[in-house]
């Protein structure tokens, strides 16, 4: 194992040496390590003085962790510069070919670059945080708890890994450093949004949510690393010279896979859609298991948390709620609001949102949204049980009739999304990243138009016209 890892250190070591000889890297790092914490400290002091006038102690407590997060973040922005030019920069300087001609495996080259992209900025980040911590111990500021400090260090590490892994994917796929820099906005914007969310979490002070955020960022980083390695092709690095969006090629590739050689609608359904469906069978089976787990989780969460809410509620409120559930649905109102087109659009939008969330997170967020959708049923089941209402008649009348179409549609649509994420992070010999994305996008579109949309249309009609009648009959 050590022998296999040695070239990784070798590649990283050479570049680290290069970096430490470059004043353009060292100067901003020194400024960020020593000057920025001083500025941040000054800002914190002024804020403390101001907030003390209003006894805003809670904000004061949370200010230091927030400052640490910001202090840790700024030096790792250098990682973006280093990682973005890691491969494409070498390509431009002509140094990539001797490296690629050397007996190094793809992953060794890749991890060498990844390591060097992460190490220098993280050293700067940790030093910066340490310097700031030394400063706050000498002042009247509240030192964060050990757990919070661990979380902040992990968060900083996760940010660096995320940015570097994304930047290296861009660096491998770009043809020039300029193109890579322009594409950096695809990293900066999501990370900026992420930072805002994390800042909210820090001020909220919920440790559990922050742990989830750290885990989420780490999972996405690992998936990005996997994507990078899966699509790292020496050929690709040497072959392309200019970046152009070839719309014609994009359309042809998509259309060829969408049609799949079929010359009639029947042939398309049987062969093209059939083969796409066969490809996603493992994903469907996986999501079926996930569905069971989600229902159980939804039910368990309700049974654990809602009794406290019920205990705090007055008997009148409970009675009112129970009566509301048992009340006959007003069919006239329901028809006006929950008509078939509305229900169809609503469910189609849900599947589309799951797809979009999955597309930008290698399926992770898509699967989470799918789980939430399914977990709602378990939750509803639990609420009815807690209210003392037998859930089975309501479930059989209100969910099953349209659910037999709607749930498979959701499951199949989400499976196509999951398959897409899996394919993107899996090495595909002889195919570029663009081809892989377009082919899996064509598969998703086939499944969506050929199966999901018709099933959701049937479900909407049943839900709009049959379900209310059945519910009314059951509740009578």
């Amino acid at each position: 194992m050590f022998t296999k890892l040695k070239p990784v250190w070798l590649v990283a070591g050479r570049e680290l040496k290069d970096q430490f000889r470059d004043w353009r890297v060292l100067t901003p790092m020194a400024i960020l390590i020593f000057c920025f914490p001083i500025l941040m400290n000054e800002f914190a002091k002024q804020t403390v003085n101001f907030l003390n006038q209003y006894n805003a102690n809670l904000i004061l407590e949370r200010l230091v962790p927030f400052s640490i997060m910001i202090i840790g973040f700024f030096p790792i922005t250098i990682s973006l510069v280093v990682a973005l030019e890691s491969f494409v920069g070498e390509k431009e300087r002509g140094t990539i070919e001797p490296m690629l001609s050397a007996p190094l495996d793809n992953w060794q080259l890749y991890f060498g670059k990844l390591l060097v992209g992460v190490i220098t900025p993280l050293i700067a980040s940790y030093l910066s945080i340490a310097f700031y911590l030394v400063m706050i111990t000498r002042q009247d500021l509240v030192m964060p708890s050990f757990i919070t400090l661990v979380q902040l260090i992990l968060l900083t590490t996760a940010h660096a890994t995320l940015m570097v892994s994304a930047a290296i994917v861009i660096s491998v796929q770009s043809t020039t450093v300029k193109a890579a820099n322009l594409l950096a906005s695809f990293i900066v914007i999501p990370v900026a949004i992420l930072m805002q969310g994390e800042a909210v979490m820090l001020f909220w002070g919920n440790d559990q949510v922050l742990w989830l955020a750290i885990s989420g960022v780490m999972i996405i980083s690992l998936l990005l690393i996997r994507v990078g390695i899966a699509h790292f092709q020496r050929e690709y690095l040497l072959g392309r010279e200019i970046d152009t969006i070839n719309v014609g090629w994009l359309w042809r590739t998509f259309w060829k896979n969408f049609i799949g050689g079929a010359n009639s609608l029947e042939a398309w359904y049987v062969h093209s859609l059939g083969s796409a469906l066969r490809r996603i069978v493992p994903a469907i089976l996986f999501l079926a298991v996930v569905a069971v787990v989600s229902v159980w989780l939804g039910h368990a969460w309700v049974m654990q948390n809602i009794p406290q809410v019920i205990a705090k509620s007055s008997p009148e409120d409970i009675q009112k709620l129970t009566a509301g559930v048992r009340e006959m649905p007003n069919l006239t109102n329901l028809e006006a609001k929950l008509n078939a087109p509305f229900l169809f659009m609503n469910n189609t939008r849900a599947v589309a949102i799951i797809f979009l969330a999955g597309l930008f997170s290698f399926s992770v967020l898509g699967v989470l949204l799918y789980m939430v959708n399914i977990a709602l049923m378990g939750g509803l089941f639990g609420v009815l049980q807690l209210l003392g209402i037998s859930p089975w008649p309501l479930f059989l009348a209100g969910v099953v009739p349209h659910g037999v179409f709607e749930i498979p549609a959701l499951m199949i649509g989400s499976a196509a999304m999951l398959y897409m994420g899996v394919v993107i992070v899996t090495p595909q010999t002889g195919k570029s990243m663009g081809e892989v994305i377009l082919e899996s996008l064509a598969d998703w579109t086939k499944v969506f138009l050929g199966i999901v949309v018709p099933l959701l249309a049937i479900a909407a009609v049943i839900e709009a016209y049959l379900t209310p009648l059945l519910l009314a009959w059951v509740l009578k």
Partner: protein
């Protein structure tokens, strides 16, 4: 050794290399000639396992380029079109780094880098940063890198470009030495004089296809026809007494010389000399008309373009 069969590479709609067949044994030098963009670099990149062949196969040092990329790369030394040097490193650091990449021991790295730096006259500059090197020095260092692990196969793209005549001579001598020590060498070059002096085999590539391949003699014969000889006399001579063999064609004649084309020189030239000895003319010189690789190359290219225009 290098062996390829129907080696082809297609980039989308563009056929960069089309059906290349090569066979270069140990101790041989093959020169790939062709215009810029003809497919030489793509061929070399396939032989280094950097590009996967779209069709056909290639074996380098006994390894399949498509299946054993790692082994191929470990057995090959490559001098790329661009030097690919890290400007902030010193020459000694640079060679040591690549020595480590090729898994050489510390003592072997020291031995090899000292030897190569000394051979190429870079010892004095060994601790200077490469960024301070002249173009020729960089080229020599890049060549030293390609030779660092003493590979069995060398793929050299323009090995003497940017070098002064003395350094170029040094490099040519080293290539000849490597050849004599049973290395397999492929050179891509536009320096035809150099190719002529070094190569055992020459392949001319045009638009991805090999138009002509063979030894220097074979190429000259195939492209320029049988060799031509000029015979010069000290005084005017009597042509009536000269009897030329059947396969010898008289091209021109002056009072003191004549020029012939000989299909089978080994058989006919002694006969010509014999016939001349019977005449009273005193021969001053009997020499083959110099025909260069440049003539061959230009003729092949002109013909290829001509055929293209016709089509």
């Amino acid at each position: 050794m290098i062996e390829t069969h129907d080696l082809s590479k297609q980039f989308h709609d563009f056929m960069a290399v089309d059906g290349v067949n090569l066979n270069v044994q140990a101790g041989q030098i093959l020169a790939l000639l062709g215009q810029n963009g003809a497919g030489k670099t793509t061929t070399v990149r396939m032989l280094t396992s950097l590009l996967y062949p779209s069709r056909g196969w290639a074996r380098v040092a006994g390894y399949d380029v498509a299946k054993n990329g790692h082994d191929v790369r470990a057995s090959v030394g490559v001098l790329t079109e661009q030097h690919g040097l890290y400007m902030r490193m010193t020459a000694i650091e640079y060679l040591d780094f690549f020595g480590q990449v090729y898994s050489l021991s510390a003592s072997a790295r020291k031995l090899r880098s000292d030897h190569l730096l000394e051979y190429f006259g870079l010892t004095e500059s060994a601790h200077r940063r490469i960024g301070e090197y002249s173009k020729g020095m960089r080229q020599k260092l890049a060549l030293a890198r390609a030779m660092m692990h003493d590979p069995g196969v060398l793929l050299l793209d323009e090995p003497t470009s940017a070098m002064d005549p003395e350094s170029a001579r040094l490099v040519r001598d080293e290539i000849a030495r490597l050849k004599s020590s049973q290395r397999t060498i492929v050179i891509c070059s536009h320096n035809l004089t150099e190719v002529e002096s070094l190569a055992d085999q020459i392949a001319i590539i045009y638009r991805g296809r090999i138009l002509l391949q063979g030894t220097m003699e074979e190429l000259k014969r195939d492209v320029l026809g049988p060799p031509e000889y000029e015979i010069q006399f000290t005084d005017a001579w009597d042509a009536s007494r000269l009897e030329l063999p059947k396969d010898v064609e008289m091209l021109s004649r002056t009072a003191t010389s004549f020029k012939v084309r000989v299909k089978r020189p080994q058989e006919s030239n002694p006969q010509i000399l014999k016939s001349l000895s019977k005449t009273s003319a005193s021969v001053m010189a009997f020499q083959e008309e110099p025909r260069t690789l440049e003539q061959v190359y230009l003729k092949v290219m002109t013909d290829a373009k001509g055929r293209e225009n016709v089509h």
